[in-house]
Symmetry: C2
Subunit: 191 residues, 2 copies
């Protein structure tokens, strides 16, 4: 997606250690117009990949919410985000999986209420980054627990050097990314 | 806002103890069309209140992100959400305030990078709930630290029985809410 790739090239910063900073338009400050265009682009690309009759978009808090909302808006279906802390409003019997924590090491729990995901649902899984694939694998586990059908995985940016695409290959669904980043010595390339 | 009030009446659940559950369309599952309409409604109402030349919409993760993104999209300006954990990409000198934690008691820290909020900014503060006002007061403190101008506060749902409007009165800005909920014995009223 050219607008996204151009933005990463002009504003993304490589901090070393595999860390790409895109806080100015994806992670901390969000560009709404770019975000809505990302949603429309996912919908167009999944349609071309033969994915149809989607009933829900699913992501995890926090940074997946914006691109998932934009995709759900373009599809006209609800968006559900997995919670990391169980709210007092969540009933027993929730779906539960674990993913590595980005902020403090260890693991974080991801939870979805059975009220909002069930066997009748056809799901697009949307997140901001495809890195190791462990977080996306955990969201896919929640979808599997609900017996919904996972139809495809869409990520805004793939860090190809982290190997997540191979990790998720067994899910056997289309994985669509809108920009790829790879390491190139002390810098990075975007394509 | 009639569509929102009708939705709370038909799908909101009062769990007792002052807890209103709206997880089906605001907090865990999100209705994108309603969310985008909420953003447009905030923009129209703040314009009528004389608020103009807004340059940023600010909220806090997690549940403020969707209505804040929709409002920023309708205004055509960036949205910034305060983080609860410092990411490794956030430089020193960040703005910091504390708010009560909804999930585990105690306090949660809210942080915004000085890269994305400065004295030139005119800010709308958007969140999902106006309850005690403590979280919104903490976000307002971040905005004050940045020396940006707070122009108005918009909340999707006001729990009038928690008194947040009085708590925030000293900020002396318009506070616009799209639905109000009050207790009525073992039930609640929406207006």
């Amino acid at each position: 997606m050219k607008a996204l790739i151009d933005r990463i090239k002009s504003e993304g910063t490589y901090l070393g250690g595999g860390i790409l900073k895109v806080d100015g338009f994806v992670n901390h400050q969000i560009d709404p117009a770019l975000t809505m265009a990302i949603g429309s682009e996912f919908v167009a690309r999944f349609a071309r990949a033969g994915v149809d009759a989607v009933t829900k978009v699913v992501t995890a808090e926090v940074s997946g919410i914006a691109p998932a909302l934009a995709t759900a808006q373009a599809l006209g279906v609800p968006m559900v985000y997995a919670r990391k802390h169980r709210p007092i409003t969540m009933p027993d019997g929730f779906f539960l999986a674990e993913a590595p924590s980005h902020t403090k090491g260890g693991v974080v729990q991801l939870m979805i209420s059975p009220e909002y995901l069930s066997a009748e649902d056809r799901v697009l899984l949307i997140d901001d980054f495809l890195a190791t694939g462990l977080t996306i694998g955990a969201i896919a586990a929640l979808i599997r627990q609900s017996r919904a059908t996972l139809c495809g995985i869409g990520c805004v940016i793939e860090k190809v050097f982290e190997g997540g695409r191979d990790y998720l290959a067994d899910l056997d669904v289309p994985i669509i990314v809108l920009a790829r980043v790879d390491l190139n010595g002390d810098s990075f390339t975007v394509f």
